[in-house]
């Protein structure tokens, strides 16, 4: 049976790293089991907000967990107002995480708030001796770009408004690249993942995608967080959040 962390954990740092985007560092117990692509549940314990918020693991440094989140609603707003020294109940690590086995040259493709989980992945892949190129796309201001530069061989940036890097979609840079990748790892909005699934099919480069859906339990009990895989619905929190792009039914 999986070992979970489920305790009040102390916030060490909680700071804005871009407009409406925050990095929170939390002191946890044992994080040895945590892998890139897994997530935690953040319990707000705020009465009317019943459900915990799923947030991906961005980085791990011994007992410190880092999450990077965007303020999009009430819960993330509450998180953004918390101060170092305060405690938050955290459950994790949850989900399957990225499978790291094949390939020497890999492309990581992230869009917007899908970029954070790729950071721990980049570190892990590099530590496994792989050559990592990161393709990071944003609407406007990039996040975590400098940190990717410290681990990845190359970092390509695209912004939709052209304020930094290539103007347009990040997939355009990937498509025009001459690199022969053994595998692609991706996280981001659905249109990006769908485009990469098509790219993966056309080029026969395997691709792992990290998906999201509204969750209640995070543990596999409510069967709320599903995605269509083949003919059936499977739980993102348990069988995912990472799936092979070619098994997901993208027509739903």
């Amino acid at each position: 049976m999986k070992e979970f962390f489920f305790e009040h954990a102390e916030i060490i740092e909680n700071k804005s790293i871009s407009r409406e985007i925050f990095s929170m560092k939390i002191r946890m117990g044992d994080l040895k089991n945590a892998r890139a692509g897994q997530f935690v549940m953040v319990y707000l314990e705020k009465g009317e907000m019943l459900l915990p918020r799923p947030i991906s693991i961005c980085d791990i440094d011994s007992n410190t967990l880092e999450i990077v989140y965007q303020v999009v609603g009430k819960g993330t707003k509450v998180m953004s107002e918390m101060l170092p020294g305060q405690c938050l109940k955290i459950l994790g690590p949850l989900g399957n995480g990225f499978k790291i086995e094949t390939g020497q040259r890999v492309a990581l493709v992230g869009g917007g708030i899908g970029v954070p989980p790729l950071f721990l992945l980049a570190k892990t892949l590099v530590a496994n001796g792989m050559k990592v190129n990161a393709y990071l796309g944003f609407r406007t201001a990039p996040i975590l770009a400098e940190r990717f530069q410290t681990v990845a061989e190359n970092v390509f940036i695209a912004t939709e408004d052209g304020s930094v890097g290539h103007r347009g979609f990040i997939t355009e840079i990937l498509q025009s690249s001459n690199e022969k990748y053994d595998e692609i790892f991706a996280c981001g909005p659905l249109p990006l993942l769908r485009a990469l699934a098509e790219f993966s099919q056309a080029t026969e480069i395997p691709c792992q995608v990290c998906m999201e859906e509204r969750m209640a339990c995070g543990l596999g009990t409510c069967v709320g967080c599903v995605v269509r895989v083949g003919e059936s619905y499977v739980r993102i929190c348990t069988e995912g959040p990472v799936f092979s792009a070619n098994e997901v039914n993208w027509n739903e």
Binding site: M1, K2, E3, F4, F6, Y43, E45, G47, E48, M49, L50, L51, P52, L91, E213, R214, M215, A216, C217, L219, G220, T221, C222, V223, G224, C225, V226, V227, R228, S232, Y233, E252
Partner: protein, 303 residues
């Protein structure tokens, strides 16, 4: 001194009145690492049908103020799979097992009841109230006659296993449905299931749930649940499992005072995986502080 926490439902003794609600506790396995399942009065497992059900398109979950909507659509791999994969795990624990049955037709309900004819379980819970399934489901629980019919049909095939009928709150007169179930031979009642609700994303201009509507649960529905338990307890003599928004020990006591024999905990497991055990400890402390020797002393004390 020792306090008596055990309660009796249809001749089966539960060591205490805390039960988990169907569809919110998986098959128990997932929560075994947070709590000692041996401490629960009973575990109600997720709804099972004779054939596998695929469920509704996502999104299936939407949080609301003090509650949540779900439109899972009773996705489950079918009774055979459940009996093979999940039941053996539960048998390792000293707690009672309640199997929640769903169906789209009376024949479906009979078939799933028969699937369990050789399985060692403690209760059937007949879900005649799930608002998610377009075909059937809803209708059994919203009419007295059909509630009675389906109860009678299942009861006939249930052998010695007691049948609890789980009522839908989406009705004009809950007492009449409860009487229908009683007339059909129910051994107990569980109420309430979720209230049909809806949430709209005003920016996308469409409902949040893939199914458009879903069942509301959580603290937001508790007053409705307490009222219905109270009314039904006054009108029928069957034991009642009260459910709907119970999240604290105070809530559990409230249900018991309204007339419930046991209390089942659903959505609260999502907000706090240890909710059931914390509620049980709270009940014990309340009994100590108020010198209640037997939990049954306070059942239905509200006039």
């Amino acid at each position: 001194m020792s306090r008596k926490l055990s309660v009796n439902i249809a001749g089966v003794e539960l060591k205490n009145p805390i039960v988990t609600a169907s569809g919110t506790f998986g098959s128990g396995k997932e929560y075994a690492q947070f709590i000692d399942l041996n401490r629960l009065g009973a575990i109600t497992v997720k709804g099972v049908s004779h054939e596998p059900w695929q469920g509704n398109p996502p999104p299936r979950i939407a949080e609301t103020h003090g509650g949540m909507l779900n439109a899972v659509g009773l996705q489950n791999p079918g009774a055979k799979d459940f009996i093979e994969k999940d039941l053996p795990f539960l048998k390792n624990f000293d707690t009672k097992i309640i199997v929640n049955l769903c169906g789209r037709t009376i024949e479906d309900y009979i078939a799933v009841t028969q699937d369990f004819s050789n399985a060692a379980i403690d209760f059937f819970e007949l879900n005649i109230s799930c608002p998610n399934i377009k075909a059937g489901g809803m209708s059994f629980g919203t009419e007295r006659k059909s509630a009675e019919e389906v109860t009678r049909a299942v009861k006939k095939h249930a052998g010695k296993t007691p049948v609890i009928v789980k009522l839908s709150p989406n009705v004009t007169d809950i007492v009449s449905i409860a009487k229908g179930a009683e007339a059909g031979g129910a051994d107990g009642l569980c109420l309430i299931n979720t209230l049909l609700g809806m949430k709209i994303d005003i920016h996308k201009k469409k409902p949040i749930l893939g199914n458009k509507v879903g069942g509301l649960s959580g603290p937001a529905i508790k007053p409705v649940a307490v009222r219905m338990v109270y009314q039904v307890a006054k009108a029928v003599s069957l034991p009642i499992i009260g459910t709907g928004g119970a999240a604290t020990w105070e809530d559990a006591i409230e249900f018991i005072m309204a007339g419930a024999t046991a209390v089942s905990v659903g959505t609260a497991n999502f907000s706090n995986p240890r909710a059931t055990i914390e509620m049980l400890d709270g009940i014990i402390a309340y009994m100590e502080n108020n010198d209640i020797k037997n939990i049954n002393e306070i059942r239905g004390i509200i006039e």
